[in-house]
Every structure is written in C-alpha cells, then in structure tokens.
Symmetry: C2
Subunit: 179 residues, 2 copies
C-alpha cells in the first residue's frame, strides 16, 4: 500500500525546501578557489569510483559533454590526470593528481566543519536517522527514475535478470541497529 498522499506531498515540499536552502549555501560558501560545486563533485566521484570517464558520467548522472568540460577544467588546474585506456584506446582512465587529492581533502574538511557547526544541537542518533532517511529516499527515487527497459512483450521472462539490487530493503530499525 502506498504512502499517504498527504505524506507524499509533505515529503516533496520538504525536499524542495532543502534544495532551496542548499542553493543559498552554495552561492555563499561552497566555492573553493577556482572550483565550482559541480567540479568539486567530479573530484570526489573520481576519488571514490575513479576509472573510465564514461562510467564517471553515469555515476554523476551527467551527459558525456558535461563531464568532458569539467575534466578539461580540472586537468588544466592540475587536479586530475587523463590517460588513454590501454585495453580500449577510445576510452580514458581518470585519476586525481597529488594536488587533486589535497584539494579534495581541503574541500571535504571545510564542509565537514561547517556542517558540524550548523548541526551544533544534534546528537549522533539524529544524524544517523537523517543519513538513513536521505539515503533511502535517494535509492527509491533512483530506482524509480531508472528507465526500466520496456517490459518485454510476449517474451518469456529471463531466468536471470539484472541482479536484484539488495539496496535498501532494511527497515529503519534494522539499519540503525546494524551501525
């Protein structure tokens, strides 16, 4: 049974409200030297899932031209390196330089300390709840947004389809208890 329409409406409004607040923060204090917020996100994604550019674009949820432009900028600043993939000479392998890792670290530390000051009245449990709830919401929207390939018409269902992403099937209590 779906969630109540009133709850859905409320959740939508809260999410848009959060986005507005974050946008205000972005313009006021999320810059880092030459780097815009988007490039900072690319930097972090490289650190986490670095590798082929095309995969990075998918993980960032942006088109190839957008990533290309950001990588060119980051390379120009000496923060990332691009090398042709020896196994597929069309592709690139992307990695942070020493300077890139340093810059990312500064960005992260700065954000963390700012957030810590904003959450001065919070306790660990509250933070854990927020992390969990937002993660679950992102997962739900991601699987919803994912354009499921058009339902196979008149074809017997494949025996083994895409791995049944175990993602977020925990209840909140289980997930919290597992910390």
């Amino acid at each position: 049974m779906p969630v109540d329409p009133g709850s859905a409406r409320e959740l939508i409004h809260r999410v848009f409200d959060l986005q507005r607040v974050i946008r205000c923060l972005s313009t006021s204090e999320l810059k880092h030297g030459e780097l815009g917020v988007a490039s900072q996100g690319v930097l972090r994604m490289i650190a986490e899932h670095g590798g082929r550019a095309v995969d990075l674009a998918g993980q960032l949820g942006v088109s190839a031209p957008v990533l290309s432009r950001h990588l060119a900028e980051l390379e120009g600043l000496g923060l990332v390196e691009r090398h042709r993939d020896p196994e597929d000479r069309r592709a690139q392998r992307v990695a942070l330089t020493e300077a890139g890792a340093t810059a990312l670290n500064e960005i992260e530390e700065h954000r963390i300390s700012r957030l810590q000051s904003y959450l001065a009245g919070w306790d660990e449990e509250q933070a854990a709840h927020a992390i969990l709830a937002i993660g679950q919401l992102s997962d739900a929207l991601r699987t919803g947004a994912r354009p499921m390939r058009p339902a196979p018409i008149q074809s017997s269902p494949p025996v083994l389809q895409t791995p049944p992403t175990p993602q977020t099937t925990q209840t909140q209590e289980e997930a919290l208890a597992a910390r």
Copy 2:
C-alpha cells in the same frame, strides 16, 4: 558536542547524492507544459505565502530580478495576477489566478502520484521519518546560512532581539509522537 566528523561527511555525501538523483528526475519528468521547475516553485510559494513580491523572493531564497522574471512569465501565461499594493505603491501583491490554482493542483497531483509509485515499498512510519529528518536538516542549515548580523561589539545586548525562532527543538521521538 558536535556530530562525529564521519557522520557529517556521510550526511554531506548523501545530500549531494539526493540532489543528483533529483536533477535526473527534473530533466526527465518534472516539466509541466511551459513551466520550468523554478516557476512551479514560485507558483506553490504564492499559493502558500502569497502577498508582497519582496517577501516571496525572500521565502524562495532568490534575488528580486529572478522573481521578477518568473512572475512576468507566469503572468504572461495567465497563472498569476499582480496588483500594486494600496498601502505601499512601490510594492506588488501577487496572487494565483483560477488557472494558476488549477495548474498548481495538476502539478502537485502528478508529483504525488509519481512519488507514491517510487515509494511503493515504504510504510507511513518511514515516510514520517524522512519528512522529519529532512525538515530538521533544512532548519539547521537555514539558521546556519542566515547571515547573523555581526556580533554587536561593545554594545549592550538588545533587551528584545529577533524572536527566538522556536523552530525545531523537538526530539525525533517527540515530533513523531505528535503526529
């Protein structure tokens, strides 16, 4: 005592992740006829806090020129009306037209049904947790972002300052129990 740096980092990453997911949804399915997402937000804010344009801009967190442009667009589409404020002839009072209310309703209903389908596996408690956590986070960031006027140096503190926004001082349990 502030939240753990690890929790803060995790929360930051989850929030950016949510923003990415929502951006993907925005480009794929949040349009409504001529209206972009920003104009839809203006429409809703008018419905909730309609009144003086300058106050709307503040609540939306955008600059006056941005709101002016959106209002011009919405007025051109026949969705909002602007009248000079009789009490202050510099200002405008903004309100939805009949068509504007109808359009907003369609937008809301559409979003709600989409979100309900995305949250197919959720229960009411989970939704309530997400609403609460996201609202608390927005509040915390908003008060942090609010440029507190520079601490009065060498001046005796005002007897009555800005009302001590009671905002979110409930614990999660209290807030949930109050539903």
